[in-house]
């Protein structure tokens, strides 16, 4: 029986070569892409799931009621963790952890490493196993460190017998020797905390100065709760603690007019489950866990499968009309419904199985280009857990059952007589039309999304950020030498070069450099009885000149003035916050007893991510404070030469350290990598979606034309022109695209509008985006169907009428 079925199925597939091929190609590409997308999404969703204690491990954050509204902070003061452990019940383990770059020196090798300063309990809370040394206690003493396997190979060339060796680290301005106590497994790609070296927290450069200070906050805290203690219980337990230790802060908040939260509290600790940390954002005063990105990707994968399944269903139903006689015949020969269903289903299964296998092969082949294109580190290994494979298999089984089973069911249900008569009346093709409408609705939404996303990226790229990003190179100061002198040495090296216009430095980068770090420094103080919060950047001379910042009032730091280390330059937003008519009259007494005076106001510029609004900013200049980046402005011509000149100057100044200089516009581009990745994914999704929809449409138009051959002939004989017939045939399809447009536009508008709200400044959602999407879809559909219909319309009517 099965053999007979298979034989018939095979012959049928071969007979309808075009459709079989269209189906297999469509299904294969859809499955390949869907598998890759699903893998990416599942990888994203698997973030931090590998921790054994993931159900009881949390990140601590504090929500503050301030006069500006609720603000959330994950930065904590150094004494907080030990005090919490002592005074609040329910904590099993607690660890401070802060990520910073550190320079490792071994023999003549200098290496900038991503370091994590942690407490020993860090390894109780999280699962970062050691493969060398004591895995129960990877950091036994203050002067020991743990390095990952990869780091060990980088430094020593091997991960064997590294434990016990000495490594010099430059922390702050000092170089200290450390003993390697353990070699850890490399952090998994799906870990939100990642590091190359772990260092006991007490070695952090700020540790000693901040040991007992509650107002210097710079590190996150992770903790594990005792079994049975809920986060809510813990949060309640901390109320008295907060009121005691944050008394001063709370009082000044009340004084400045902050409103208490729903529970009447001004400061409240909360816990963020470790598995949510990767998806958390704290921008609008609440902690939002947002898994939109992976869910959108997963959605696109499903949508692609849907489109291609709809094609399959449509084609199978349309083709089945040719087989009605066969069905009728089989029924008269005694086939029962179940047998017929099984036969047709088997045919579908054959197509699906082939496509899935080909799809798996294709996705494997495409894996590497895909990973570079979408900047994902996802691998099959990360997602090939039994449960996920089972789920995947189940999904595919369901899709096959529905897509293959529906036409089969429809055909097996037909009454014998109707089948034999060869007339299949499927309710005016309502299903077919709704599927086409749905396909095009999806396609139009995706096209609109693509257009808006690219529009927003272009908008961000072309936005005037208030500084010159085309002509300025920023260089991370990752060498051993004192940063201020490195900037001065660079300045001297490049002095003679006419294409180098100016050199400066700062403790913060603009955009994201090749060192991949983004940091933010904030400080708060009281000004005339009011709390003021500002971002701060320490800069070198010529900062404004190098970056083309515009000065609104006063002057910048100048070598001619001796006391500029007590001067401040603020931006317009800060001036507004301070509220003085003449900002240059402002003097600010800081709490260490020195008084700073404002000497200049710069025009607002985007010193943070473009998606944020411009915050109050204060620029300091103090030769005792470290700089982390050098800025070099070059002339607009001879760009490549100038860049090489900068590079060779760097190599002269810091021969051991890697040159990581990059133009600021690259840095800015790097900050919206996520948007770009999303744009690439949605673009390719929509291209594939449209392509697949078109394959379907093409096949359907072929069948429709075949069904209407007689009608076309009649119309031509009674006087229809080619164009009127072609229009008649095309019109029906375009109508469907029109309906899809009407459905898609509000949906796309709603979601894109929601998405754009994440950006402080964004493109306006003009109707042109949607018209463009609709037009594109119409045009594509028109071309697809048109080629078929024009051909049919220009055929000689005698041929179609001869079949009498």
């Amino acid at each position: 029986m099965i053999k007979n079925y298979l034989k018939i199925a095979w012959r049928n597939l071969v007979k309808n070569k075009v459709f079989t091929l269209a189906n297999v190609i469509g299904l294969t590409s859809a499955f390949a892409v869907a598998i890759l997308l699903a893998m990416t999404a599942l990888f994203e969703l698997s973030f931090d799931q590998f921790h054994e204690n993931k159900d009881t491990a949390y990140q601590l954050y504090l929500s503050n009621q301030t006069p500006r509204g609720t603000e959330i902070s994950t930065s904590n003061p150094v004494p907080l963790a030990p005090s919490l452990q002592e005074e609040v019940s329910g904590i099993k383990h607690i660890s401070r952890a802060v990520s910073e770059d550190v320079l490792a020196i071994h023999n003549s090798k200098e290496l900038s490493l991503d370091a994590e300063y942690v407490d020993p309990a860090f390894f109780e809370i999280f699962t970062y196993p050691a493969i060398g040394g004591d895995s129960n206690n990877p950091l036994p003493e203050k002067n020991t460190v743990g390095i990952t396997e990869e780091t060990a190979k980088k430094i020593f060339g091997t991960a064997q017998n590294v434990v016990g060796k000495t490594l010099s680290l430059k922390i702050g301005r000092e170089e200290q020797p450390f003993t390697i106590a353990s070699v850890l497994k490399d952090t998994p790609a799906n870990s939100s905390i990642d590091f190359e070296i772990v260092i006991p927290f007490e070695n952090h450069p700020e540790y000693l100065s901040s040991k007992d200070r509650w107002d210097s906050q710079f590190h996150p805290i992770y903790l594990q709760l005792e079994n049975g203690v809920t986060p809510e219980l813990f949060e309640k337990n901390t109320i008295a603690f907060t009121e005691l230790h944050y008394k001063g802060g709370i009082e000044s908040d009340i004084r400045d007019g902050a409103l208490p939260d729903a529970n009447g509290k001004y400061k409240q600790f909360h816990l963020m489950p470790i598995t949510d940390v990767h998806f958390a954002s704290y921008t609008s005063g609440t902690a939002k866990v947002n898994r939109t990105f992976p869910i959108i990707i997963l959605g696109i994968a499903l949508v692609i499968i849907f489109i291609v399944s709809a094609n399959f269903i449509n084609m199978s139903i349309a083709l089945s009309e040719k087989r009605l006689k066969e069905i009728g015949m089989r029924k008269t020969l005694g086939a029962i419904k179940k047998q017929l269903f099984f036969q047709f289903w088997l045919e579908s299964l054959l197509v699906f199985a082939t496509s899935i296998i080909l799809g798996l092969v294709a996705s494997n082949l495409l894996l590497n280009p895909f990973k570079t294109l979408f900047r994902t580190r996802a691998t099959f290994a990360d997602v090939t857990q039994p449960s996920i494979i089972l789920l995947f298999a189940l999904t595919i089984f369901c899709i096959t059952l529905i897509a293959g089973g529906y036409p089969a069911l429809l055909m097996s249900k037909l009454s014998t007589l109707r089948a034999l008569k060869g007339k299949l009346n499927l309710g005016k093709n309502r299903l077919r039309n709704s599927l086409i409408v749905l396909q095009f609705t999806i396609a139009i939404i995706l096209i609109a999304g693509t257009l808006v996303l690219h529009g927003q990226i272009e908008f961000m790229r072309n936005k005037d950020l208030g500084y010159n990003k085309e002509q300025v190179v920023s260089i991370p100061l990752n060498g051993k030498k004192d940063s201020n002198s490195v900037v001065n040495l660079l300045r001297d090296e490049l002095k003679g070069n006419p294409d180098i216009l100016s050199v400066s430095g700062a403790d913060n980068n603009l955009g994201m450099g090749r060192d991949g770090s983004i940091s933010r420094s904030m400080m708060g103080f009281d000004y005339k009885g009011k709390g003021v919060v500002t971002s701060t950047i320490t800069v070198d001379y010529d900062y404004a000149k190098t970056l083309d910042l515009e000065l609104v009032a006063g002057r910048m730091f100048d070598r001619d003035f001796a006391i500029d280390s007590l001067s401040l330059v603020i931006n317009e937003t800060m001036a507004k916050q301070l509220g003085e008519e003449d900002p240059l009259s402002i003097t600010i007494p800081m709490d260490d007893g020195v008084t700073y005076s404002v000497i200049g106001v710069v025009k607002d510029f985007n010193f943070q991510e473009i998606s944020r609004e411009i915050q109050p900013l204060t620029l300091f200049m103090n030769k005792d404070w470290d700089l982390y980046y050098a800025y070099v402005k070059i002339a607009p011509n001879n760009v490549a030469n100038s860049f090489d000149a900068i590079k060779s100057a760097w190599e002269k100044v810091e021969p051991q350290a890697e040159f990581l200089g990059s133009f600021l516009d690259e840095n800015v581009d790097r900050t919206f990598r996520r948007e770009k990745t999303m744009a690439t994914i949605i673009t390719s999704g929509s291209v594939l979606g449209i392509l697949l929809s078109c394959i379907g449409l093409f096949a359907i138009s072929m069948l429709v034309v075949a069904q209407r051959t007689k009608e076309i002939g009649v119309r031509k004989v009674i006087g229809a022109s080619i164009s009127s017939v072609a229009l008649l045939l095309t019109k029906d399809f375009l109508k469907l695209v029109g309906i899809a447009f009407v459905i898609a536009t509000p949906i796309a508008w709603y979601f894109l509008n929601e998405w754009l709200q994440n950006y402080a400044s964004h493109v306006s959602l003009s109707p042109l985006f949607f018209l463009g999407a609709g037009l594109a879809a119409t045009l594509i559909a028109f071309v697809t169907v048109g080629t078929r219909t024009v051909k049919a319309a220009s055929a000689n009517p005698v041929k179609s009428l001869r079949t009498e």
């Binding site: 009608e711 002939g713 009649v714 119309r715 009674i718 005698v798």
Partner: protein, 220 residues
């Protein structure tokens, strides 16, 4: 003279051999004639009719229709010519299934870009003349074969052609219905319409003023 065929040849190549569908056809048709083409199956009756109707091409010879040389015309002009002057009636009616009787009649007029009001008037006229006013809102499937063919003839006539080409118009009808259609043709011919019909039936052929016999693509 309405049309003239001179030495018309039509062939297909099959297996290296030339098979003639029409062989040296010479025919003159005057306005007002009623011609019956007869012959056994495969003798080329329908092919000849299609050539006359300009639906099919020929390989050799000359064809003049109302002083236009059809063989030199481009496809588009040829199409305009037959749309203007020729109406077709088919054995299996070829009505558009999804249109009502009224709409079926209206279709050729729409293609000829008549105004809506004119179309209405002409359709009403035609319905009246063929006594099918009561059926105007029915679909072809709801009519008997004879009635369907009646609509077919009405549709062929509605744009006032000079020539009607009928390919076995009674082939799918019973004898009574067939007789009615032939009577109708006779009447139309009396009113001045030229008719060329293909038929198997001696009796129907008698309605014509001239009979042409075909055998293997040749006039005999």
């Amino acid at each position: 003279m309405l049309l003239q065929l001179n030495n018309i040849f039509k062939w297909v190549n099959s297996g290296g051999q030339r098979i003639f569908l029409l062989k040296d056809i010479n025919l003159e048709v005057e306005e007002g004639e009623f011609i019956s083409i007869m012959g056994p199956s495969g003798s080329g009756k329908s092919t000849l009719l299609n050539v006359i109707g300009m639906l099919d091409s020929f390989d050799e010879g000359e064809y003049n229709f109302l002083d236009e040389s059809v063989h030199t015309l481009k496809e588009k002009h040829r199409a305009n010519l037959y749309k203007e002057y020729i109406g077709f009636v088919f054995q299996s009616y070829h009505l558009l299934d999804e249109l009502t009787v009224q709409e079926n009649l209206e279709m050729p007029l729409i293609y000829k870009k008549f105004k809506s009001s004119e179309r209405k008037a002409m359709v009403a006229d035609m319905l009246d003349r063929f006594n099918i006013v009561g059926k105007k809102d029915l679909f072809p499937a709801q009519l008997s074969g004879g009635q369907q063919q009646l609509v077919g003839v009405a549709r062929a006539l509605i744009s006032k052609p000079k020539l009607i080409l009928a390919d076995e118009p009674t082939g799918n009808l019973n004898s009574k219905q067939g007789e009615e259609i032939m009577e109708l043709f006779k009447q139309l011919n009396d009113e001045g319409v030229t008719i060329i019909q293909v038929t198997h039936s001696e009796k129907n052929a008698e309605y014509g003023s001239r009979i042409i016999n075909l055998l293997d693509g040749r006039m005999i």
